[in-house]
């Protein structure tokens, strides 16, 4: 089957900054595909190149077998793009905005009317359609933005951080809507910061850091590949660093403990990767070991590996840390 999206060896620099540095990936049709990575990883740049907003320095991009470089107009017909910033003219009404969008995609008057009515209905916007957009809430604006991106029934929908800044209810509705689109054969490519969002929605995920692909596969595969179970220990609610280091050395010496990381951001909690079929069974041993040196145990949490662990394993830092290192989280740098 022909790939919905094919990206081969994509390079894009802004000045001396390499935004994307040799990225390749393939997205099968009718699939939700997630791009995961910290700020500045090159996610948005990749999407912008795909949507013909940026010209790559090097590499090949295809949508449904059509080269983005050779026939950008045909590609624009196939794509719907919903940018991270809500791009609405607030002085227009919702319906006027959709009508403008319909004309930009050259829909006939009848098709536009039908399509607008249906999408307004579907996204529960009908009641507010003739009010000016400036009166809309953030969630409402995002839904209108989504409706605009879907007006011409794109085969591939590209979403940049579709739920950033949305309340939990709006996020849920967006997720359900994307699943529904996938059921109807639309390919969805989305970027996200939210690990759980990608984990829940995406059939496959590409983890990107500094413009390079560092892992690719189904979320399940990726997590299994990292392996191990996670135990998070807190000696005290907020442990002194020296004590945490002492405990780390102590516990690190145990045969089933593969790795110990001290998480300073969480009151020097100890983050252990353990090789045990049942991580719960390791807890008494860990407690005894601490007690032998006179250290208390405030709390224990167990977890399977998450996508964050995948990221950690590949880059040596958590997504959050990478975000902090890249600057203020949630803000994209723009040229």
């Amino acid at each position: 089957m022909e790939a919905a999206i094919r990206i081969e060896d994509l390079h894009k620099s802004y000045g001396s900054t390499k935004a994307v540095d040799g990225l390749s990936l393939t997205v099968a049709p009718a699939q939700i595909y997630g791009l995961l990575g910290p700020n500045g990883a090159g996610k948005t740049t990749t999407l912008r190149c795909l949507c013909t907003l940026e010209r790559p320095d090097r590499g090949r991009l295809e949508v449904a077998g059509i080269s983005v470089a050779d026939d950008s107009r045909a590609v624009r017909h196939l794509l719907g793009y919903v940018a991270q910033e809500i791009a609405l003219d607030k002085i227009l009404t919702g319906r006027e905005l959709l009508q403008l969008q319909a004309d930009l995609y050259h829909l006939s008057r009848a098709a536009a009317r039908e399509q607008i009515t249906q999408l307004l209905e579907l996204l529960d916007l009908t009641d507010r359609a003739d009010e000016r957009i400036k009166t809309y809430s953030g969630g409402l604006m995002k839904r209108l933005d989504l409706a605009a991106g879907l007006l011409h029934n794109p085969k591939v929908l590209v979403l940049d951080e579709p739920t950033v800044g949305l309340d939990i209810q709006s996020r849920l509705t967006v997720w359900n809507f994307l699943r529904e689109l996938r059921r109807r054969g639309v390919t969805v490519l989305l970027t996200s910061h939210y690990l759980e969002e990608i984990d829940m929605l995406a059939a496959r995920v590409a983890i990107i850091d500094r413009g390079r692909l560092i892992a690719e596969g189904t979320p399940e595969e990726l997590k299994q590949r990292v392996g191990g179970e996670r135990v998070t220990l807190r000696i005290r609610e907020f442990s002194p660093a020296a004590e945490a280091r002492e405990a780390a050395v102590l516990l690190g010496a145990l045969p089933f403990v593969k790795e110990v990381i001290i998480n300073e951001a969480q009151g020097n909690a100890l983050y252990l990767v353990v090789a045990a079929a049942d991580p719960l069974s390791t807890v008494p041993t860990l407690r005894e070991e601490l007690a032998r040196s006179g250290l208390p145990l405030f709390g224990v949490a167990l977890a399977r590996p998450s996508l964050d662990d995948v990221f950690l394993a590949a880059t040596g830092q958590t997504l959050q840390d990478a975000d902090l290192a890249a600057g203020s989280p949630g803000k994209k740098k723009r040229k």
Binding site: L53, Y81, I86, L88, D89, I91, L107, N153, F177
Partner: protein
Amino acid sequence: MGNSFIPDNSASLPLRQPQRARTGSFGQFRQETMALARRLFIQLGRRPSAFVGSIIQSLLWLMLFSALFAQAPRGTFGIEGGYIQFLAAGIIVFAAFGGALNAGVPLIFDREFGFLNRLLVAPLVSRTSIIFASALFIVSTTLVQAAAIGAVSFLMGAQFAGGFEGALIVALVVTLLVFGIAALSLGLAFVLPGHIEMLAAIFVINLPMIFASTALAPMSFMPLWLQLVASANPLTYAIEPIRHLFLHSNWSWADPVLLAPWGSLSLTGCVLVLLVFDVVAIALVGGTLKRKLG
């Protein structure tokens, strides 16, 4: 709002390819241009203050400048009527130029707010529709403004001698000038980093272009260097024909209307120069768009 994203009868999700309108590229170009222009007119209707302000400003110019030289001896400006008779053409072009020069401002805000991306990811037949839509809008508003200036200057004693046909030529000249300037302004809006730079550029360009033209004083008042500058200034090619039509009832296309240091140019010649200016402007901006946006 609940989970209303997912209707019970999910069959209502439209998925078949919606029908396209007119098949020809020209029809599609017209559709996208008109849609973009319609947006600008809606904005004007709901946020008219900038337009109203520009009309008030040009009327103020008309009154203040005409008062400035009201006591000048008759014939000073090489015409029989008062200064207002001379000035009206200059103020019409001043207003048209100001409006056109600002054409890029909404675009630069669209760029900054990300709305432009919506246009750039759409399969537009040509991105020059963005320019044509804006030019269409600016031309319409400028013609209204020019009519207002004409009417007020009439009340102030400036007779328009050119007749109905002459008025149409005034409209043509204003349209040609505005189209070219608006295109260049839009080009600037694509190239400059942001609205601060855009406003600075407008600030620097606006008044000097007026003073370096024949808007306020005839060519014969100027030293040679300024005459050379003024006769290279596209504004002069709009002002002189309009002024000629204001002053002469028995005008003809072959009348020499622009007296530059290097010779004179007829009404036809001025219109042709403006036409060439437009072609060059659109080619320049079209090229910039291609280079900038791929």
